[in-house]
Symmetry: C2
Subunit: 346 residues, 2 copies
Amino acid sequence: MKGPTQADVARLAGVSRATVSHVLNNRLDRQVPVSEETRRRVLEAVIELDYVPDARALALRSGSTKTIGLIIPDIHNPHFWEVVDGVEKEASAAGYHILLSSISPEDKNAEDIFKNLSHRRIDGLIMVPSFVYQSEEAQKTLAQLVKRRIPIVGIMADRGEMSFKIDRVLSDYHDATLEAMAYLLSLQHRRIGFIFGIAVPELGNDRLLAYRESLQAAGVAIDPSLIVECGPTIEDSYHATRQLLELPSRPTALLAINDFLAIGALRAIKDMNLDVPQDVSVLGYDDVPFANYLIPRLSTASKDGELMGREACKLLLARLEDSDRPRQEIRLPARLILRESTGPAR
Amino acid sequence: MKGPTQADVARLAGVSRATVSHVLNNRLDRQVPVSEETRRRVLEAVIELDYVPDARALALRSGSTKTIGLIIPDIHNPHFWEVVDGVEKEASAAGYHILLSSISPEDKNAEDIFKNLSHRRIDGLIMVPSFVYQSEEAQKTLAQLVKRRIPIVGIMADRGEMSFKIDRVLSDYHDATLEAMAYLLSLQHRRIGFIFGIAVPELGNDRLLAYRESLQAAGVAIDPSLIVECGPTIEDSYHATRQLLELPSRPTALLAINDFLAIGALRAIKDMNLDVPQDVSVLGYDDVPFANYLIPRLSTASKDGELMGREACKLLLARLEDSDRPRQEIRLPARLILRESTGPAR
DNA sequence: TTGTATGCGTTATCAT
DNA sequence: ATGATAACGCATACAA
């Protein structure tokens, strides 16, 4: 049931527990000298018993758990898996493990999960802080973490209303959306639908805002019926798209809040015997791996989730090294990728 | 930097540390009686200080870390997200956290990650044991875990050559593949390609075996050039498909080792100006969420990853409760889902 | 060169 | 009803 302890090794090697510790911790540096003979006996005993230091005791003793908490809003969205992937690569290279939680704001027990996570005495936390917007409890817990100076890195939109002083990886789709809208407008699109299928509206504001700005700047009236809020599943976007296309005067272009939901949009359009991009253009966000393989290939705005994850993790590791370093913000630009799903309005 | 400890609470409340522990642990049951007055004071102090028990100390003391290790082979494959999702839901409901590692067998440091993970003194481990096939080191580590009676649940194919005595969630595509092949054969398909894009060949043997069996039973010669092994990315499957379709006598149907890779296949077919299912039928595996929304809607075999994850987690939790219970195996049937991507051979 | 003693934050056993 | 004290497994300052 339980593995061998340091004491077992010491007993077998015929030395004291402290000596075992010395041998194990002074690999090559000769801080505490140990005779070759003793060292050999200890090492043999270690192998003999398959001894492995107990991480729990280590954590209690050292204060460090070698664990990083990672909170993402939606485990079903491929974009976040890229983020997870990036974080994990960077973390495991540094000997850290990832404690993953997907906290969608609909979760009744969002606060519980978050609280519980924070109690684990993780070394640091990386999060896409969507759920925080919804819950005062969560904000309080977060405030505690900040107060205790647990290193936290937020992955968020530039305009996020995060009042806490934490390191951040900033990336939003505001400018990319401006660009996308300019492109669509130049193609004579005037009725542009927006499938706002996102659990936390705050997370999509960068796109929504830019959408509105663009329209206004171009002197196009904003039609509220063109913006449809729905849930975060493909099915949701499928229905949202149908709703949009059944409008008396249907849109000629569609913005889907992410590539994942764009799949549902493409399907809905097809089911209504319409063609992309002939009848309606579709533009997604995230440039998820399969975006370039969909039929038609999806035009999208890209944030490079893996890079975001990597950078967030680096930020965290750096702060773990030096908790007093000035607060950092890394800005990762998004870029527009035009493929086959967008074309001139007809 | 560090949170308040039990001692701080005790000091503020003017009682001993033990009393604090008593109050906190005997919520409602009156095992150890505590006066209302004392109880109140302690609770107040707890709130005042935002005291939260230290998980590290708890772990050391109780032996339990309330953490479950989860190892999946490929973080990019949506099927495994479903598994993760299922595990996570079940686990977090029981107050457990997930230590997630994606160990692809190409990983140089697969053993390291695995070893490291096992040293964390996790309470239990759920894994898709693909990487184990490749590495002797990993097998040794696994053997240690088994010896120490760390609860382990394997999510694997029925015919998996796992010699260890662990609880298992069994699910493979052997029978579903037989079914699929019978279906394709009945549609007069004779040249059926197989896109074997998988990092660990062992993981796909259920399908490959059934593929061969079916062909033989039908008296169709097996053409090795129809089986193309490739990597696990969409791009890999894209190229594999092109290779298949450029064959002098090209296949009329394609089995893609999973839905994710089927996307690449669909795209490749389209790019060669062929039609699905008119010119070539495509069949995937996993019934990933977007499968039903692709163009065309993808025929596939379904394993319900989320359910697998849930069941695996339940198995683990049950063994955590009672380590002596008889070894369990849960068999989850796969079923064939016919949609638009398959049709008669022309 | 090696061993002893102490503390990390808990819980549980035993006195008081 | 409450408190002193001993583990849990380890690292380390200090004594031998």
